[in-house]
Amino acid sequence: MGISVIQAVLLGLFACLASLPGMGGTTVGNYTLGRPLVGGLVVGLIMGDIQTGIIVGASIQLVYIALVTPGGTVSADVRAVTYIGIPLAIRAQGLDAWRASRAAGLAASLGAAVGTLGTVLFYGTATMNLVWQGIGWKAMDGGKWSTIKKTIPMVDFVLPWISHIAFSFIPCVVICMAGESMVSLMKDYLPMDGIAMKTLFTVGSLLPAVGVGILCKQVIQKPLDWVTFGLGFTLAAVMGCNLIASALIAVFFALINYKIEQLKTNRLAPAADAAASFDDDEEDI
């Protein structure tokens, strides 16, 4: 069975909503509609086979269950995997629920390729948004409140749709319509052991370092802070702590640090407001 124009358009629309800087917002868009399991339900509804959709979505979800995008760096675009990979897999395997598990396998391997393509699209969207942000800065520089009041919501809520139509909607619709021929074309021209795909996947593994680098830029002020960073790194890399364990150990050290810093300030500015802010620390963390 084929994917009709209406189905492709709906899939494209959901791809726009579910992207990481998506038009559905972070919570509802990326973290709900952008999860393959939920996407499987949505795609299943659009394609008229909810059961297969969910089975395929669930098996892809397993692969990407702990995907985090530190500092906003995307290395695998789950949204593309979901709204391009799942429909193609369902379509390739037909509507036979018995073969859903095979469709799932296909979707997972297709997903790797489509997800990489999606990463390119993601950075396209983010780059095009610079144009709208330029409009926003110009309004801010102009210093006219009535203009600013109209422009900022325009820039944040409306104009990015144009980026998404160019980099989410159109590619999703085109690939879904072209279907299998597109996939085999990609397999032929971009083999996994070729330079292009190897580079793409290597870039994918390097990109999270940029995100973590951005986080470091925010917290590391002096060379010695790298020791603190290194302790956290060691906890996870050498001692096998998961992140909750690391956070707990970090809070312990921070408490000691807080007490020491407080003693220092109390010695400089005795008595009076010493205890005023003492009990605020827990909530902040």
Binding site: Y31, I50, I220, G232
Partner: protein, 277 residues
């Protein structure tokens, strides 16, 4: 004496809505969540100040780069709503103080939010949902949709309210001498968590082997692991940080550079993801 200004519930709600929806809608590598922040502060500033010049001036404070885990970051938005209210009432808060607090919180909160919300809470919910969706059961995805969205909506509302109340009543705690201890401790937690994040969520390995003789060769990855596990993660994070802080490169440029590093690495055989269809 003039009556103390207070941000109305309506303006606060609209700031909250603008943030939780628009935090990343106009994302770019250059400014990340900055426009979401401007959109969130707009209704608050509009209400607090009477003349247009003051409004422009107040909103301009939030032009500074902002990026954190946006859901836990709702607290920072709430906090600045409170701070802005205090400033409109004549508290001596300048742009640097407000942005210092924002910058001091966003890194640590990003580390904590990424690890607790995205790295732990979501996988747990998804794990339960996957169990429920065996055989294509609709219950699985529906469970996730309902529980996740309710938890986040009320969680973010709580964070916003906490932030706002803290901002309004405890300005002194955040700008006074006591605040240095608090902020340095929060930043410390953040730095350590981000260190763990670097070891957990990045996976950079080399495929390079240096042959000694016909039957033995040096596997570079093994050597690196024996020096320190995940050394390449550490190196690349430091490298990106160095490019962005010491060489003042933009994130976009750093990514472009990594593409070249990856290409060269693949050509000389340093990198090889070893995948197939």
């Amino acid at each position: 004496m003039a009556e103390l200004k207070k941000v109305s519930k309506k303006a606060r709600n609209s700031a909250f809505r603008n943030w939780i929806y628009g935090n990343l809608t106009c994302f770019s590598q250059e400014h990340m969540q900055t426009f979401g922040y401007l959109a969130a502060m707009l209704p608050v500033v509009d209400e607090l100040y009477d003349n247009d010049d003051d409004k422009v001036k107040a909103l301009s404070t939030y032009r500074t780069f902002f990026n954190t885990e946006p859901q836990i970051g709702t607290m920072v938005v709430g906090l600045t709503v409170g701070l802005e209210e205090a400033r409109a009432n004549g508290e001596p808060l300048d742009d640097d103080t407000i942005n210092g607090i924002r910058a001091g919180l966003m890194g640590p909160l990003a580390g904590l939010g990424d690890s607790i919300i995205v790295g732990t809470f979501i996988p747990i919910l998804l794990g339960i949902a996957l169990g429920l969706s065996t055989g294509g059961n609709v219950l699985g995805p529906l469970f996730y949709v309902v529980v996740w969205n309710l938890a986040m909506y009320f969680g973010m509302k709580f964070a916003f309210k906490q932030g706002y109340e803290l901002g309004g009543s405890a300005v002194e705690a955040l700008v006074g001498p006591q605040s240095a201890a608090l902020r340095s401790s929060i930043v410390m937690v953040g730095t350590m968590v981000i260190g763990s994040v670097a070891a957990t969520w990045i996976n950079i390995t080399t495929a390079l082997e240096v042959p000694f003789s016909a039957d033995s060769s040096l596997v570079l990855q093994d050597t690196l692991d024996s020096i320190f596990p995940k050394l390449l993660n550490f190196f690349f994070v430091w490298f990106c940080w160095w490019l962005m802080t010491k060489r003042k490169m933009s994130p976009t440029l750093v990514m472009g550079l990594l593409v070249i590093v990856a290409l060269v690495g693949v050509l000389v055989g340093f990198f090889n993801p070893g995948l197939s269809y």
